[in-house]
């Protein structure tokens, strides 16, 4: 299991479109993906979960990936959070 604290740099926060991209990408990985913000934990493969976290730009999120391909998953997924995809 690996984890990293990431600041959301996406211009408008984690809006529906980046959130959709995040979920679609997360689903491609074997690993479990979890996001934690302000003590609230949601699955990174659930768009409803991500949206209800209401991540504005600048919010800090702990991204956790756990599984065979956790390294690749973390690397790819953080790019979406940082608005570099």
């Amino acid at each position: 299991m690996i984890k990293e604290m990431i600041t959301v740099l996406n211009e408008n926060g984690l809006h529906a479109l980046p959130a959709s991209r995040f979920v679609k990408l997360a689903e491609k990985f074997e690993s479990d993906v979890t996001l934690i913000k302000d003590g609230i934990e949601v699955s990174g493969k659930s768009i409803m979960g991500i949206l209800t976290m209401a991540c504005e730009k600048g919010s800090k999120i702990l991204l956790i990936c756990d599984g065979e391909d956790e390294k690749e998953a973390l690397k790819a997924l953080r790019q979406i959070l940082e608005g570099q995809d």
């Binding site: 926060g13 809006h15 529906a16 479109l17 699955s43 768009i47 409803m48 209800t52």
Partner: protein, 583 residues
């Protein structure tokens, strides 16, 4: 026989139609709790899975439809909806709770969705708050499928029906089948709503904003819809039906008589050519413009890019729409008007008491420069086909033009440095629709390549009349000599500066106004596509010298009534060819 009832609304799309009411149910979903026997729990779970699959199919169809009709990528917001629908957490929770609680699927699903919606509604950020609507959009669709509601979609409307609804969402409006639906009547919406735009694109009559409509009609009743006058008649009497059928027949006959004019060139008897172009707001309307013989798009309204989607459109999305339109109209030109919207439509949470005199159109763009630049970049990139022009709405001061040009210059420079191609000679023009712009037109003309007179707004601002306000709307008259004199001044100022001057309001297609406008020297008339054949007929029946005489005299009158009376007489005497269509 049930009694006939006349209801008033907003005339949103022209034409007359009569058919059977098809009520599209968007609300009044009632979900009840029912215990499920253990032996049936598996069936219940499967029923839920089928509803999800069915809804997924519907959403994918809508997405394809929007991408096809409005533009690639515009259906993207539905991707998010599909993900919400198939969200594993939700699906698993619902299935588990059906089994644990032994309750029916709709009850459990409704509770689970409600729980997520409440969490979102609690967030501080406005954007996330507004996503509640998305969640319920999906949620209601699933519930309708679970409840087996027959009229879950407008697609189900049978032939010869009049679609009646509280409101029709943008995604649903794209599914309206013009072969089945003869007309649309709704409680919500106005002339610029998505439903109105769709109805006009499909050329089916629509009356929107009818208060209390659903309470006054029922499924299967007869409904007559008059999209010209903005009324609907429930259970029309046979004499009424007859009267409308005759009127409709006349319209069809007139259309038939006018159809040869689509092909003809728009020129006066003495050979003066006037460009006739089309006002459109939808890429799909470009075909109509061509069908009716437009020589280009004189006004491409870009507001729909905002109104039909959630969130602001990206540069890429806009670029694709502009590029597709420019390519489709080539070699004829396309005039793209930058956003003419109130700030409240673009920025969530912004409201003002008097939007027509408020923060709208170019005023928004000049303050939200980055937002403005996105659109300018998209238009410039689309201009490589060399037939694109840009037009700015609601300019009221000289400083505004200077500032527009400054920002425009920055965008050009930026594109050049990135080696992005665009048309170096792209024409810049302004809408002349505020009295100050008309009065100062000699100064403004020195700064731009063309003027397009927006006669509707010019009339509204000059006469200080809100035509949407019933108490004063009768004072709205674009034949008012005050308005006509401003139009004369604008055309003169434009010509002195050697730029062309067009007009894109309702006046442009009025057979009574065309001789006057030609007499004043107008170079281009832009109108709704279906008005084009009639305008061509009018043009081909008149001659410039006579029109100049008529214009000179018309401007001497004191009232709109005097002007119109004079014009009617003058047209009757000099151009009997158009007398018939004025009636």
């Amino acid at each position: 026989m049930p009694k006939e009832k006349i209801l008033r609304g907003i005339a949103a799309s022209k034409g007359i139609a009569q058919g059977k009411i098809f009520v599209y149910e968007t609300h009044s979903l009632q979900v009840f709790q029912t215990p499920i026997l253990s032996v049936y729990l598996k069936d219940e779970t499967e029923r839920f899975e089928r509803a999800i699959a069915q809804t997924k199919k519907e959403l994918s169809e809508i997405k394809e439809c929007i991408n096809r009709e409005i533009g690639e990528d515009f259906g993207q917001f539905l991707d998010a909806q599909i993900l919400m629908l198939t969200d594993k957490e939700i699906v698993d929770t619902v299935k588990k709770r059906i089994g644990d609680e032994k309750k029916n699927a709709e009850w459990v699903y409704n509770q689970v969705i409600d729980n997520y919606a409440r969490k979102l509604a609690d967030s501080k950020d406005q954007y996330f708050k507004e996503r509640v609507a998305d969640i319920w959009d999906v949620g209601h669709r699933v519930l309708r499928n679970l409840l087996g509601m027959i009229h879950a979609s407008v697609v189900d409307a049978p032939t010869n029906s009049i679609l009646v609804a509280h409101d029709i969402s943008p995604s649903e409006a794209t599914l309206i089948n013009a072969k089945h639906v003869l007309g649309i009547a709704t409680e919500m919406g106005g002339r610029t709503s998505h439903t109105a735009i769709t109805a006009r694109a499909l050329e089916i009559p629509a009356v929107l904003g009818i208060e209390g409509l659903l309470a006054k009609v029922s499924h299967g009743e007869d409904l007559l819809i008059d999209g010209d006058r903005g009324i609907v008649i429930v259970n029309p009497s046979s004499s009424r039906t007859q009267q409308f059928a005759t009127a409709k027949k006349k319209v069809i006959e007139l259309e038939k008589a006018l159809s040869p004019y689509c092909e003809l060139t728009p020129e006066t008897r003495d050979g003066r050519h006037i460009d006739i172009s089309a006002n459109i707001e939808f890429f799909a309307e470009a075909n109509q413009a061509k069908k009716y013989g437009a020589q280009g798009i004189g006004l491409f309204r870009t507001e729909f890019l905002y109104l039909t989607r959630r969130g602001n459109p990206t540069e890429e999305e806009q670029f694709r729409v502009y590029q597709a339109l420019a390519k489709s109209m080539k070699p004829n030109s396309v005039i793209i008007r930058t956003f003419d919207l109130g700030g409240d439509k673009i920025f969530a949470g912004y409201h003002e008491p008097n939007p027509f005199l408020g923060w709208r159109a170019i005023r928004v763009c000049l303050e939200e420069v980055e937002f403005f630049k996105i659109q300018l970049r998209a238009i410039l990139r689309a201009s490589v086909s060399k037939n694109v022009k840009i037009m700015f709405p609601m300019v009221a001061t000289y400083e505004e033009i200077k500032r527009i040009k400054l920002i425009f210059g920055e965008v050009r420079k930026e594109l050049k440095s990135k080696k992005v191609d665009f048309d170096e000679n792209i024409q810049l023009g302004i809408m002349v629709e505020t009295p100050s712009a008309a009065i100062l037109s000699a100064h403004l003309a020195a700064e731009v390549d063309f003027f397009s007179i927006g006669s509707n707004d010019l009339t509204q601002y000059t006469l200080a009349v809100d035509r949407g306000n019933e108490r004063v709307s009768k004072l709205f008259d674009h034949f008012h000599p005050g308005v006509l004199r401003l139009i004369r001044d604008v055309i003169e100022a434009g010509h002195q500066a050697h730029i062309w001057v067009g007009l894109c309001g309702e006046l442009a297609s009025d057979p009574l106004a065309i001789p006057l406008l030609v007499g004043l020297g107008i170079d281009e008339l832009s109108m709704s596509p279906s008005s084009i054949p009639r305008a061509k007929l009018t043009l081909r029946a008149i001659s410039t010298p006579k029109c100049s005489e008529i214009a000179r005299e018309a401007l001497n009158y004191r009232t709109a009534t005097e002007v119109k009376r004079f014009l009617r007489r003058a047209v009757h005497k000099n151009f009997p060819g158009i007398d018939e269509i004025i009636k």
